[in-house]
């Protein structure tokens, strides 16, 4: 703690830097004390574990709602596992500095590098906003709508014992059957939950102070029943408010922080220009890429197969057509160009279901009630139905393709009757 260099440098911004860092550390979940930040600038080893834990917390998906009580749950992994995950996550997001990958796995070194990594994450995207939104106290009822939520709440997956050795195909059939059964169970449970929610919402109609909501949610009803839980909820709300206020302070002061980070970066030795090679191991992503490549290739072949003969036939017919033909031709080309551009935008600019992203509070309101902000279930049902039809068509197409392929392969053994099961 000896050096007071900051004072000499920053002039009137002296007080602002500690304030900014304090605000940042209060906004972050599991934020370390400002002292840690200061030590990290000078690469002190004692600051490293806290920063590893901070990065782990920031980079790993949140556990499911049930674990909201204790942020530092006893089941959080050991420091080494955290180090490992932080390194992988940063690498996957494209962290440019090699020094991070070379830090020891026991988490004892590298506080300055970790500080740079944190700053990098903060600079790249709306990290704080996302963290605050993630940990926001949600009083309302929700049904899982978007896939991201379902995945995010799954938490870090434990490593599984893989079955080694050859497997009978009947095992696969059994697993498929089990999956179908589980889905059916899931749907039934979900229907029950919806019925219960409907009842609770009806019974508590008129109890909420917020007229636009009109009724209580499960969490709020529990508040009535359980004052102890109410106290806990109050505490959570209090701490969330404190974090929000800290975040506001941070956003007012963050320029000072970035100037300071420049000095931190300056204090680092330059990396050697020739990189050491990490062993290349095929990633999970690579196989997905291969799948897509194969699909696109197949599609390309099919398109060529239908387009070429038509072009040939067309050319043969369109021989001696007059000058008005070229104008028509150009018009058609433009029209087709526009249509295809629209098509391209459909996948490049994200899904039509963008409005289903993010948590939404369920509110029961009579159909006749006048509009207000909020997504109507009926609209969402319409969107989902069309998506369902689309997906069913895709699945049907895939299954037909499989059937055609199998028929072709079955030709290798003639003299058999293949009797199909009764139609779907």
């Amino acid at each position: 703690m000896g050096r007071r260099r900051l004072r000499g440098h920053r002039g009137d911004a002296v007080g602002a830097l500690p304030e900014a860092i304090a605000a940042l550390s209060q906004t972050l979940p599991a934020g370390p004390s400002p002292e840690i930040f200061r030590r990290a600038k000078f690469d002190r080893p004692e600051a490293a574990p806290a920063l590893w834990q901070l990065l782990f917390r920031v980079l790993s998906p949140l556990p499911a709602d049930g674990a909201s009580a204790s942020p530092a749950s006893p089941t959080s992994p050991a420091l080494e596992a955290q180090v490992h995950l932080v390194k992988s996550a940063l690498r996957s997001q494209g962290y440019p500095r090699r020094a991070l990958a070379q830090l020891p796995e026991d988490g004892s070194q590298g506080s300055r590098e970790l500080l740079l990594a944190l700053a990098w994450l903060l600079a790249r995207g709306p990290l704080l906003e996302q963290l605050l939104a993630q940990t926001r106290v949600r009083l309302g009822d929700e049904i899982p709508l978007c896939e991201c939520e379902a995945l995010a709440s799954a938490g870090p997956l434990p490593p599984r014992q893989e079955a080694d050795g050859p497997v009978d195909i009947r095992h696969l059939q059994w697993l498929m059957g089990k999956l179908r059964f589980q889905w059916r169970n899931l749907i039934t449970s979900q229907q029950e939950q919806c019925a219960l929610l409907g009842k609770i919402h009806s019974y508590t109609r008129g109890c909420h102070s917020d007229r636009s909501l009109g009724h209580l949610s499960v969490a709020e009803t529990e508040l009535f029943r359980d004052p102890e839980g109410g106290r806990q909820l109050l505490q959570r709300l209090e701490s969330e408010n404190a974090r929000l206020e800290a975040a506001l302070v941070w956003w007012r002061q963050e320029l000072v922080f970035w100037k300071w980070m420049d000095t931190v970066l300056g204090a680092c030795p330059l990396e050697a220009s020739q990189p050491t090679f990490l062993p290349r191991i095929p990633t999970v992503g690579a196989s997905e890429l291969e799948l897509v490549a194969r699909e696109l290739q197949a599609l390309h072949e099919e398109l060529r197969g239908v387009a070429e003969p038509r072009r040939v036939a067309w050319e043969a017919r369109a021989g001696g057509w007059g000058p008005e033909w070229t104008a028509v031709q150009r018009a058609s080309q433009e029209a087709v160009g526009r249509e295809l551009a629209t098509l391209q935008r459909a996948w490049e600019q994200g899904e039509a279901l963008a409005q289903t992203h993010g948590p939404r509070r369920l509110v029961k309101r009579d159909a006749g009630a006048s509009g207000g902000p909020g997504l109507r279930a009926a609209e969402l049902i319409g969107v989902l139905r069309s998506r369902e039809t689309c997906l069913e068509a895709v699945l049907g197409r895939l299954q037909t393709r499989c059937w055609q392929e199998l028929t072709r392969l079955a030709g290798a053994r003639p003299g058999l009757l293949w009797i199909l099961p009764p139609g779907r």
Binding site: P61, A64, H84, K87, Q93, R124, A150, A154, L157, R160, E162, P166, V167, I169, R170, M176, S189, Q193, C194, I200, G206, H208, S209, R211, V218, E220, L223, F224, L233, L237, E240, L244, L248, R252, L270, I281, V284, G285, L289, V292, E295, L296, L299, R311, S332, V336, R361, V363, D366, L375, L380, I381, E388, V394, L395, Q399, C402, W403, L409, A410
Partner: protein
């Protein structure tokens, strides 16, 4: 029997799917337990005690709809007497109620300065608690009981404020119940006051997003990122694994959209030569786009190969640890999903699950196709296990594992 590596991959895929399903089930079970527990206090009592649905929709409705029937009042009085005994046991809960009220009075003041909605909101909570008295009478009693243990000094102060705010709403059934209503509303006021304050803070956020200081900060951040990149010794193609994954997702979507468009064109019957030409141009355009996508795939392949990306731990990666990025940009007020009946909600939830299930099925179908077809073509058709394999493959791939075909030897009749 399937070869070892193929088995491992397929079993892993199916088990992933099962795990995802099981996780959803676990979360549902958790919510179900809570909901069932809450409803137990309402439902076991006679459902006949529920009054007509009139009061639900409009609190301004004149007394007859709001006032519980004479019989219900009697029942309530009886229950109140019985519960008074329980108050002695619940002395400790009264302390909690006291603290709640203290906090609510304090934060109520804070909330008033933060937002003007607090006064009418407190009024409506009075009406609300009254309605809650009539609808689930027993349930509300549980919370009002602790309040009876509170010092009398508190009740009038809250009562005064609320009585002033309520004004003309003189539809209270009786003095005994009135006290209970007022104090019943006190308990949830504290968190509501906090949520109001919180809403104010979130609203301040969206205003800070657009100020000038943000621009300076953004510039500083961009400069920092560039410096970081320059100080690293890594050549890097600039693509991270997360970005590759995102692009692969886009390409997958592109492929299915292109295919759908192609099939639309092929199934349409061109009525005249102009439509034929249109169709031809579309197909050629689709072919060109597919070609460009394939080119992009090659580029991605090269990037992945050249980058030497480190693998995820244990081959399983958390997908995009920051999902739903678009949401944080929009307003911070909580988004609502409005439904009008239980049936509607059930339909919505069932559809959502069905869509998720179909997506999973399609993914599994593609994986199974990629793994099983090579097996069928490479295995000896005359061998003993080939037919078994074909039958199983047909069932898995063409019938979703639900039905099986039968294979008969076509013997000529003698």
């Amino acid at each position: 029997m399937l070869p070892a590596d193929c088995s491992r991959r397929l079993v892993a895929e199916l088990r992933d799917a099962l795990d995802a399903c099981a996780e959803r089930q676990r979360q549902l079970e958790r919510s179900l337990r809570v909901s069932r527990r809450l409803l137990r206090t309402w439902e076991p009592e006679t459902p006949a005690a529920e009054p007509a649905p009139g009061p639900e929709t409009n609190e301004e409705v004149p007394p007859p709809a709001c006032t519980p029937s004479r019989q219900e009042l009697k029942e309530l009085e009886l229950l109140t007497q019985a519960l008074e005994k329980a108050v002695r046991v619940r002395k400790s809960m009264s302390k909690a109620g006291e603290r709640h009220k203290a906090l609510s009075l304090k934060s109520g003041d804070a909330a008033t300065s933060a937002s003007t909605a607090s006064a009418p909101s407190r009024a409506s909570s009075q009406a609300g608690s009254q309605a809650s008295e009539t609808k689930p009478p027993r349930g509300a009693h549980q919370t009002t009981v602790p309040a009876r243990g509170l010092p009398e000094g508190r009740l009038p102060s809250v009562g005064d404020r609320t009585r002033m705010a309520r004004g003309a709403r003189a539809t209270k059934p009786g003095p005994g119940l009135r006290d209970q209503q007022i104090t019943a509303s006190a308990a949830p006021q504290a968190p509501e006051a906090f949520t109001l304050k919180e809403k104010g803070l979130w609203a301040q956020f969206s205003s800070t997003q657009t100020s000038d200081s943000r621009d300076a900060a953004t510039t500083a951040k961009t400069q920092f990122l560039q410096k970081m990149k320059m100080t690293s010794g890594w050549p890097g193609s600039g693509l991270s694994a997360a970005e590759v994954e995102a692009e692969v997702g886009l390409l997958r979507k592109a492929c299915s959209l292109l295919r759908w468009r192609m099939e639309e064109e092929l199934s349409a019957d061109p009525a005249d030569w102009m439509q034929e030409y249109h169709c031809l141009l579309t197909l050629e355009g689709l072919q060109a786009i597919t070609g460009r996508c394939l080119h992009r795939v090659q580029e991605l392949r090269a990037a992945v190969a050249g980058q030497q990306l480190k693998p995820w731990p244990e081959g399983r990666c958390p997908r995009a640890s920051m999902p739903c990025e678009g949401r944080t940009d929009s307003s911070w007020s909580p988004q609502l999903l409005l439904y009008s009946s239980t049936k509607e909600l059930q339909t919505l939830a069932a559809l959502r699950l069905r869509v998720a299930m179909l997506e999973q099925q399609i993914h599994l179908e593609k994986v199974l196709m990629a793994e099983l077809f090579p097996l069928v073509s490479t295995r000896d058709p005359q061998g003993p296990s080939w037919l078994v394999l074909c039958r199983a493959v047909h069932s898995l791939l063409c019938e979703g594992g639900e039905r099986f075909l039968t294979i008969l030897r076509d013997e000529p009749a003698d």
